[in-house]
Symmetry: C2
Subunit: 408 residues, 2 copies
């Protein structure tokens, strides 16, 4: 299958590209390399030493004999070039990672909000629009987020995208309906993924586009089978306050003897998935496209749920790290339960990597190995959801103490 | 009250500006005049002779002694100037009409889809973002559309924005919830209004913005009390296939002895409101803002519902016009019922202008008076929702016959 991977240079995009190439597909990465530019903007870098995309793809070919194309193209701002590219290459499937993906980054300032909305909405719409304009019947697989559901559930398990409800009619009868799960995004970033959902619904209905939306949990882990093939194929690993995901951050904090920073009570329950499973799920989704005319197919791409403070405790027990409780810069519910259905991927044969079995190798092979590259001043989360929260975070005594410790 | 009217040069924006100025408010129109540019693009013009915005506001001051400011500013593409303008002028309320508002225009080509999505999403988001960034606690009143509900109802009346449903919990109990009415947009334009809704929900929740969203029906009529004050204050009147609303189109078709063109069976039921009531509703909404921390306030801004073929019959009976049934260029349900609640505006004292009482004056004072300015080749609807529908419309024998009649 010829596959275009939009955003194939990113954290999930890169190991996905390698995995699908290893599976024998003809993989083409389309990326504007914006994630590397954001590293430059923030003055941070991946914990793992990461080569240029050109060098990475060259080494992949050297190791495996398989080619991965790289095409420098801004999907969000250059509709005409995207359309021309699709018309020329005519991929069988498109995997769409080409969005700004960090909630804290999206809340940093008004400039970052504008960028996230404009970039993400235009990127998704340009892909949909170009598929219709070129008449290309490619299966579109989009990386969404569990965050579209919001994290306040009502005691019902979160279904895979569509929620059965009863509506009371004028005559008093109840009518059962299945609706797109009501959106309740927690940040501007999450909001853009909710906007994506509505655009997918429209284009599937009006134009019969075949779309799969993967509502992914928090990704952890670094290595996949393919990235292990050569040191220069290694995936990026973010630990900074904007792009680092919570578990990866705990691992690196433990490795450099920095306290594990928990926001609020740590009572937030989140869904998690290992990067290797993430890549495998994308392959499974790719192999089971919706039929033409079928509604958007939605998978919950996660394998287990944990409370943030429980995760911190697990890592603390394994490493001897301290835990520090800091004010939460996010506006969110302090404590929430989360029950999530992921039957579809389980039925397709997904056998998840569990936290307990995978954590230790992450600590040894990644966090401790590259700990010498950590910039401790980049560990704190500095983006707050509102001005009030920013002040609360900034003036917190525990936070100030950590700042002295970290030299930040 | 100091009021910024974004898009105040448009079809509803202009009479709203006059009405609120007449009420004694300090009105400032902020507009990029894009609607005039689109007239130029399409080679069409308002049936009513329309002066420049500078001339219109000058005449208003001459007639009433009241000033209306005009500020040339692109809300969608110039966030920094919008923010600076708001910081300087600090309006108490903002009325947001600054979006591309025609469904057929939004479906004309991929370029028009891109423009509509990018313009509308960025315009709305820029306003929200700038309100937060400037710390301005202005009441934001947005013109939405009944089309966010879609036109397929389930036998339950459409509530004002929020739908009560029952969810079945894990333990088998039913939990009542009130959710934002599930979106089911019928065009790219309608889709953008659904995206707006989600952005409003997020900014009300995260930042406590006070927002009112008016889900408006199809507007008909031309004159309001204020536009009647002077011939050069007249409102625009669109009759072309892209921007003309269905009833206005029937009136002008009758005036020039062109058949009333009904799409499909004409079984589509739509909600309607007279322009004078529309302006009055906006005033009512302005005077009853939500409290800080309150959820987005949603009104259904419509006064009556009719089936399209019934409307055609009413106009035919009054004028002797023929009715022509043409293939529907839109992808939509052929026949639908529509029951809509509008209790909130009725309780605030709205006393609607009914079709039967207002139609005749529209025929005499507008359609027949300016019939000499009609370009008959601009009457047909040429934008189709899909390639298949475009072919069906183009090859229809009745449509071809009309083309000969009209000289198009």
């Amino acid at each position: 299958m010829k596959i275009a991977i939009l955003g194939g240079d990113g954290f999930v995009g890169w190991p996905t590209s390698l995995h699908l190439s290893a599976c024998g597909h003809d993989v083409h990465i389309v990326d504007n390399l914006s994630r590397r530019w954001i590293d430059t903007e923030l003055g941070v870098q991946s914990l793992t030493p990461m080569d240029s995309i050109q060098e990475r793809t060259r080494i992949w070919t050297e190791q495996t004999g398989k080619a991965i194309g790289f095409h420098l193209l801004d999907v969000a701002s250059d509709y005409e070039r995207l359309k021309a590219w699709l018309a020329e290459h005519r991929p069988d499937a498109i995997i769409h990672f080409a969005e700004q993906r960090a909630a804290p980054y999206s809340m940093k300032s008004d400039r970052h909000k504008t960028y996230t909305v404009s970039n993400n909405v235009n990127a998704s719409h340009n892909v949909l629009n170009a598929l219709v304009a070129t008449g290309l019947d490619a299966h579109l697989v989009h990386l969404g987020t569990m965050g579209v559901y919001g994290y306040s559930t009502v005691g019902a398990a979160i279904p895979e995208g569509y929620l059965p409800v009863d509506i009371t009619l004028e005559n008093g009868e109840r009518a059962p309906q299945e609706i797109l799960y009501p959106a309740n995004p927690g940040s501007v970033y999450h909001m853009t993924k909710c906007l994506d959902q509505l655009m997918f619904q429209f284009y599937a209905k009006n134009d019969g586009l075949r779309i799969t939306d993967l509502h992914q949990g928090v990704v952890w882990g670094t290595h996949t089978k393919e990235t292990r093939l050569h040191p220069q194929l290694i995936n990026r690993f973010d630990y900074d306050g904007d792009y680092g995901t919570v578990l990866n951050r705990f691992l690196i904090q433990a490795a450099v003897k920095y306290p594990l920073t928990v926001h609020g009570t740590g009572g937030q329950t989140r869904a998690f998935i290992h990067i290797q499973d993430s890549v495998r799920c994308i392959e499974l989704a790719l192999n089971t496209p919706p039929a033409a005319g079928e509604r958007v197919k939605i998978f919950n791409q996660m394998t287990e749920t944990h409370r943030v403070r429980d995760l911190a405790q697990i890592v603390a027990d394994m490493t001897g790290a301290d835990i520090a409780y800091l004010p939460n810069p996010r506006k969110e519910v302090e404590e929430n339960d989360l029950i999530v259905k992921n039957d579809q991927f389980r039925e397709l044969g997904l056998d998840p990597i569990k936290l307990e079995s995978g954590l230790l190798s992450e600590i040894v092979e990644v966090a401790e190995k590259f700990a010498y590259r950590v910039d401790r001043t980049r560990i704190p989360c500095v983006s707050a959801w509102t001005e009030d929260l920013a002040r609360k975070v900034e003036t917190d005594p525990e936070r100030r103490r950590l700042k002295v410790v970290s030299g930040g």
